[in-house]
Every structure is written in C-alpha cells, then in structure tokens.
C-alpha cells in the first residue's frame, strides 16, 4: 500500500496546500468554518486524541503468507493474543450496521473544537467563504434549508444508483438522494461532467463549489473536504480541473479522494494531461465537454465500477481464475503474435484479465499499475462501441505516462457474443494494419487450440471451495514478494453468493469492507487487525507485510474460529495460487527500446499536442 500512486497524488495535494501540516490538513480549518453551515466534521486529530488505545502490535507480521501448516499453527497463538488485546482496548465493535454513525457523532464535537484550536489562520476568510456560499445559493434559489447548502442537506440515499441519469431533473428530491455525486469542473468554473443530471442544469451548483475552491485557493489554502452528518464532500484539484464528490456512502475522505483521482485519470486517459494543461493555458474558460462529448458513458461506467468492484478500493487487479496450463497457452499465443512497437497484449474475458504479456524493456523500466489496467478494463466494459469491427484509438495510461498516447487495437474475438476481448497496445500510431495482423494470428492459434470454448467454461470460484463453513466471502491481496517483484498487483476473491446475492446486499458487504479498509489504512491510527462484529456478519481484516486480507463470516463465529478459518484460507490460497493469480506475467521483446519512446521521449511528447488524436475522442 505504501507505494501506491494514489497516495502520491494525495501527498501532492497536501504539499500544495500547506506543507507543514501533513498531520493537520487545512481541511480542518475550513471544515471548522463550514460548521457554521450546521455541519459537523470528524477530522483525524480526534482519533489521535484517544490514542491510548492505538494498537501498534506488530505480531501479525510474523505470519508469512507462505508458511507451512506447522508454522501456521504456531503462529495462531500470538495472533489470538493480539485479537484479545484489541478487544480489551476498545477494538471490539459489537455494533449494528450504523456503527459509523455512532463513531462520527461521538467524534464530531471534540473534532470541531480541536480543529479550531489547531488552526488559527484565516478565520475571517473562511467565514466569508461560508457567507459567499450561502449568498450564492440563495441568490440562485436552490432550495436552501436554514443554514445548510442544498448538497449537504440531501436526504438519506435509498439504494445505489447504477444507471446513467443524464436527463434527470436536478431540482427533484431523487436527484439529491443519490448515494454519490461526482462533479468535474474547470478552474474557471465551467462544468465538465456530472454523474447525475446534465452539467448545464447544474452549473449554478458547480459555480458555488468553484467559488469555494477559488476563494480558499487565493488564501494559499485548499479545501479538501467538508463533513456533515450525512454527507462528505471531497474536493480534489488536479491541474486545471477541480473534482468534487458529494457522498453519503460513509467512505473515508481518503477513499473518496482516491475515487476522484480515478475519474481524473480516466479523463487523462482520453486526453492526456499535457493537452489538458495546454488547452487551459490557451483558453482559461475552454469548454472541455467539447472534447469529452461521447465519453460521458465511460465516466459513468467508471463510477459504477468504483462503487461495485473492490479492485479500485484495493488498487489491485482481479484476474479470472484459470488452470495455469490454459493461462500459459494463452500467454504463449500472445507472445508469438508480435510486431515492432507492440508493448502490451491483454486478453480479457467478461471484463476480467485472462493474461497480460508485456514488452520486456518497458517492464524493466516500470511496472504496469493496476489503476491503468482498471481504466482500460472500464473503457472496454463501459462502451459497446468496440463490438463493431476493429477499433484503433489513442489511449493514455496516466500512471505509466500521463502525457503521451499509446495506440490501442481493440477487438472482440467471439462476435456476436463479445465476451472475449483482445487489447493490443502499440507506441506507433501508424501500426494499425500490423497490429491487426497480430490479431489474425492470435485468432488462428486460438481456433487451433480451441481456446475460446475453454475460456467460455471458465468460472469464478465459490467460497465453498475453500471448505470453511463459516466463511462467507473474502478478499486477499498479496504484496510484493521477491518472486513477483515488479508484477501487477493482484487480489483474489470468490463470487459474492447468498446472502450477498442481491445488489443491495452486495453493496452492503462492500460498504463494510470499505469501512474496514478505511480503519486499517487510517492515516492517524493505522491498524493491523480489526475484528468487527456487525449485526448480520462478523468481519476480520488483517494486514501484514505480506498481504492484506478481508474476511466475512457468519455473525456468530467466535474469534478462535475465525482465526482457524483464516489459517485454512491462507493454506488454500497458497495451494491454488497458480490458478488464482497471473503468477509470472510473460514478456516479449518487440523493439530495441520502446520504453524510451513511450515514456516521455521528445517525439512522443509532441504526440500529445497533436490534435489528430484528440480529434478521435
């Protein structure tokens, strides 16, 4: 987790606003003043206050992921001790599902106080911001209730929304009740994207956000987040773009900011960072929707995935479980179909990775970041445009290099079903025909080996295969260990089955995982292990230097049982490793030094300024 780029992004944000206050984000200041709006907040310093309970026990680390059965039984003991200790030290959370509410309520009062003490700068300034916000809202007659902003006052969400709602009436209650709103605007306040409702209808709302952001910016400060009882509002500024999330999902600020960063990256993947900067340098109030027209679906799809697919939370890739012999044979097919400047060959089935082959020198240089893979998978999953013919499109992998394009060849191998998709990335924009030839080669080899029908039979796995009765679901993410150094970060997880079969229940479980994740990764008080007894299930999250694990058990499982179960689970994963993960991502060599050209070589930098590619989007 320490190396992830999202954190880097965040750190950057912190630096921009207020260098010395890492532990005391400027948000606190602002949130304090915004509490004038009738909102509460519960910033990190509070959690630090009751720090007596902070558990820094590291014994969890002593259990390596690859231990043998004997070692494991030995290690279970200290581990159990730890859990007990956690219990006595307030970690026992026999709460119902609205535990988060309790936490926030408890914390908010002290929190406000604390922040007020910690931040003595710019009180009047923030007060003005608050007034400004109110004034604007009143002026524009958006249902202002008392002293709060309409966004913060939105009702409790009923169920997650999965559809695109471009034509929604933004004055209706239903609009406010969406679980998570996301807005993108330019620094000049021009609307660029709104998850629900058209950006036009929302321009006044966006105007308010922009007023807040710009006002605070002028005081060398940056709004990071605002909390209310029911909502969290997170701001993220990246270059000339401002991204805002209004969420009632109870996720942590950090998680929400990570999600906004994905949205930013998806925009970058279509336009590149360099061209966005250039456009806004030339014309501050440029309407970026002109370039993103037709791509709204891709952003909608991303946000739906972010809500429903834990890959984004875990910052890891989920591959389809596959007999290693089949995966190897697919990899070999890809390895043999190459052409100069081809850098990645990716085979996808039902929006999950089957295999990925990488150009040798490129991958010596750097690793392929999960976020870049997520963006590619989303692009393909979110648009049906790839189902007709062969597609050739410029695409930027923002974490690989935010300023230059790759050229993606995308084609389904099994029309008209369109479940198996081939994605070939080249650094050469003229390589369409050569890359298309690679596809024919791959197609032929797959016919010869009957690969498509073998792939069609592949299924995700059921947790019952683990053979632990109380275990309902889990997510396991191994970290880098020497033998997979520089490999794609992956995780494995079984299907969500009953009682998590329905969309609502799936989302509820994911929310519990998100909560556990935010606790484990709390910046002020990171935890190694959390045993959380919820109303309808018991969860155990555990992070070591080797892996991160989230497990969900039936409610009445005892701690001892849970620990035994985890021991069994780890053993099972070890046994199934070859099937669950892409163990040794295969490579090929297509070009003397593609890494140079694709990572910021002069000529490719110029590519990003070539309107020709923009025009395709």
């Amino acid at each position: 987790m320490e190396r992830d780029n999202h954190q880097e992004g965040e750190a950057e944000g912190v630096r921009i606003c207020d260098p010395p206050s890492e532990s005391n984000p400027p948000a606190d200041t602002l949130a304090t003043s915004l509490s004038l709006l009738g909102n509460h907040m519960f910033p990190d310093p509070v959690e630090r206050n009751d720090g007596t309970a902070v558990n820094k026990d590291e014994s969890a680390d002593s259990l390596p992921s690859d231990v043998t059965a004997e070692e494991e039984s030995l290690d279970t003991e200290p581990h159990l001790n730890q859990v007990t200790k956690l219990d006595t030290e307030e970690e026992e959370e026999t709460e119902n599902s609205d535990c988060q509410d309790n936490v926030s309520t408890q914390l908010s009062d002290t929190g406000t106080e604390d922040a007020a003490i910690d931040n003595d700068q710019g009180d009047s300034g923030e007060f003005v911001v608050t007034m400004l916000a109110k004034a604007k809202l009143e002026e524009q007659g958006i249902g202002v209730k008392g002293r709060s902003s309409p966004l913060l006052e939105a009702g409790t969400p009923e169920s997650p929304a999965f559809m695109s709602h471009r034509d929604e009436d933004v004055t209706a209650d239903s609009w406010r009740q969406h679980r998570k709103h996301v807005f993108v605007l330019s620094e000049a306040g021009k609307p660029i994207y709104s998850r629900y409702g058209s950006e036009e209808a929302l321009s006044s709302t966006m105007g308010v956000m922009m007023a807040l952001v710009s006002f605070v910016q002028s005081g060398d400060n940056i709004i990071r987040s605002v909390y209310s009882e029911k909502h969290t509002v997170v701001f993220l500024q990246k270059g000339p773009l401002v991204l805002v999330c209004v969420s009632s999902s109870r996720q942590s600020e950090r998680q929400l900011r990570g999600e906004l960063l994905y949205v930013y990256y998806q925009i970058i993947s279509m336009l590149t960072q360099a061209s966005i900067s250039r456009i806004f340098e030339h014309k501050k109030n440029y309407d970026l929707r002109r370039l993103l027209a037709g791509s709204e679906k891709i952003l909608d799809g991303l946000l739906n995935l972010v809500d429903s697919d834990p890959s984004f939370l875990l910052e890891a890739v989920h591959c389809l479980p596959l007999a290693s012999s089949l995966r190897d044979s697919l990899s070999q097919i890809l390895q043999k179909a190459i052409t100069p400047n081809l850098v990645f060959s990716i085979l996808i089935a039902r929006n999950q990775l089957l295999t990925i082959v990488q150009e040798k020198t490129v991958i010596e240089d750097t690793r392929l970041e999960p976020a870049d893979v997520h963006l590619l998978l989303n692009l393909i999953g979110a648009s049906s445009a790839f189902q007709a013919g062969e597609i050739w499109t410029p695409i930027c992998l923002p974490l690989f290099n935010p300023d230059c394009y790759f050229y993606a060849y995308i084609s389904y191998l099994d029309p008209p079903e369109c479940t198996v998709c081939l994605l070939l990335l080249s650094t050469d924009k003229e390589a369409f025909y050569a890359v298309a030839d690679c596809k024919r080669k791959i197609e032929e080899a797959m016919v010869a080996q009957n690969s498509l029908s073998l792939i069609a039979k592949v299924q995700s796995y059921s947790v019952s295969q683990v053979g632990v009765s109380d275990l309902r679901h889990f997510m396991y993410k191994p970290f880098d260990v020497p033998d997979n150094y520089r490999q794609l970060t992956q995780f494995t997880s079984p299907e969500m089955e009953a009682p998590y079969g329905s969309e609502e229940e799936k989302m509820r479980l994911l929310d519990l995982y998100r909560y556990m994740h935010s606790r484990i990764h709390s910046t002020s008080r990171p935890l190694k292990l959390i045993y959380h007894v919820a109303e309808r299930e018991t969860l155990l999250a555990w992070v070591t230097s080797k892996f991160e694990l989230y497990t969900c058990f039936s409610p009445l499982v005892t701690k001892a049982c849970a620990i035994t179960a985890i021991t069994k689970l780890l053993r099972w994963i070890k046994k199934e490793e070859d099937r669950l993960f892409i163990r040794y991502p295969p490579k090929y060599s297509t070009t003397p030094n593609p890494s140079k050209s694709s990572r910021g070589g002069k000529s490719d930098q110029q590519d990003s300024t070539d309107n020709g590619f923009l025009s395709l989007l």
Partner: protein
C-alpha cells in the same frame, strides 16, 4: 496502404469467385456525430442494426462486394468526433476512394454541417480521385423530416455528388447504396491506372519486416 493486410472473416467464405481480382477500396464516413455513421458502417459490414455507444477512436470494418467482373473489398473507416477538428481530417480520409458525407434528414443543422464538410473535402481532393456520396440517413424518420429530398438532391447536383436517402435502422436503400458506390468507384477510379490496388490474402510471414515505406492508410 498496408501491404501485409489480411481479410476479415467474411472473406474466407469467398472461395467461389477466386478467379476474379479483388480490389481494395477505402471508404470513409464523414458527418456530424449522431447522424448514424457507425450505424451505417455496421449495416454495410454485417447488415445489422444495434444501438451502440458513441464511437471511440476509429472503427475499421470490411465488406466484400461482388460486381460482374471484379470483387471489391470495402475497407470502411468510421470515426468519432472528428467533426470538431477539420484540420486533421486529411489524415483520416487520405487515400480514400469513397467518402460518404452523412447527414440526418431530421436535423437540419447536420445538413448545414455536411456542406462545411464538403468544402473541406473539396480542398483536399483531386477531382475524380474520390467518389463523394451525400447520404441523407434516418429516412425512417420521415415524419420529423427537416431536410427535403429535393434539397439533398439539389445540393448533390450543384456540387457533382451522388445522392441517396437511406435508413440504417430499417435497412432501406442500404444494399442499393453499397452496390451503387461499388459500381461508381470501380468505374470512376478503378479503370484509371493504379487507381485501386489489388488485395491479396497475404500469408502471415515475418511481421517484423514491416515495409516502412508503405503508406499506411490509418486514420490516425
């Protein structure tokens, strides 16, 4: 054009006419977004209609058309959003033997746009090297018509274009249009020396030995 190019799946069935020459024709679709370019391309290539998302990048589709004494392999290029960037369109339509200028008969502004496109095209093309076809799409939306058949026809007459009203949705006039395009391209261009290049199903050999000098007709 790329030299080592091989056929789409539909070509494999095409054993009957082995004795005939197969010539490659590059066909590009131009017009405002939403007029139905992708839908027309899908009709041409697979005789299907589907509601799909806006095009991402360029889509490449093929269709083989048999004429009396020649077989044409149409390589259809359909792109997204390029209407905003007239400056770069030459990249896309460079080397095209046929350009379909599409508008939506139920949206007048797309007809106006088509005329702007035409100006661009005329700047780029040597007369006689490209067959330009004005296509009024969404003929099924006759009740919402904003551009009359006469207007379309008279624009075509004035500028020396071919003209057809069609519907990607109903399939009306699609095959007629395709055949007519094939005939015209073969007549106007095919007969000229080197006007159309022969298409061969090249075996998959030595992809690494790419002919750098071959001009790729990639739209990008």
């Amino acid at each position: 054009m790329g030299e080592n190019l091989r056929g789409g799946a539909q070509l494999q069935n095409d054993t009957l006419r082995k004795s005939l020459r197969t010539l490659k024709v590059k066909l590009v679709l131009l017009g405002s977004s939403g007029v139905g370019k992708s839908s027309l391309a899908l009709r041409f290539s697979k005789d299907e209609f589907r509601r799909t998302s806006p095009t991402v990048g360029c889509a490449y589709l093929t269709r083989v058309v048999h004429l009396r004494n020649v077989t044409l392999r149409l390589e259809i290029w359909d792109t997204a959003g390029q209407e905003k960037y007239h400056s770069v369109t030459p990249l896309y339509y460079r080397g095209a033997q046929a350009a379909l200028l599409v508008y939506d008969i139920s949206k007048r502004e797309t007809f106006i746009r088509a005329q702007v496109w035409l100006k661009e095209l005329e700047k780029q093309y040597i007369p006689g090297s490209t067959v330009i076809w004005l296509v009024g799409n969404k003929g099924d939306l006759a009740t919402h018509r904003q551009v009359s058949v006469e207007e379309g026809q008279s624009l075509a007459n004035d500028r020396g274009l071919f003209f057809t009203e069609a519907s990607a949705l109903s399939g009306d006039q699609i095959n007629e249009l395709l055949l007519a395009i094939a005939h015209r391209v073969y007549e106007c261009i095919g007969v000229q020396q080197e006007g159309l290049s022969e298409w061969k199903e090249t075996p998959l050999v030595d992809l690494r030995n790419r002919d750098k000098s071959s001009r790729l007709a990639s739209c990008c």
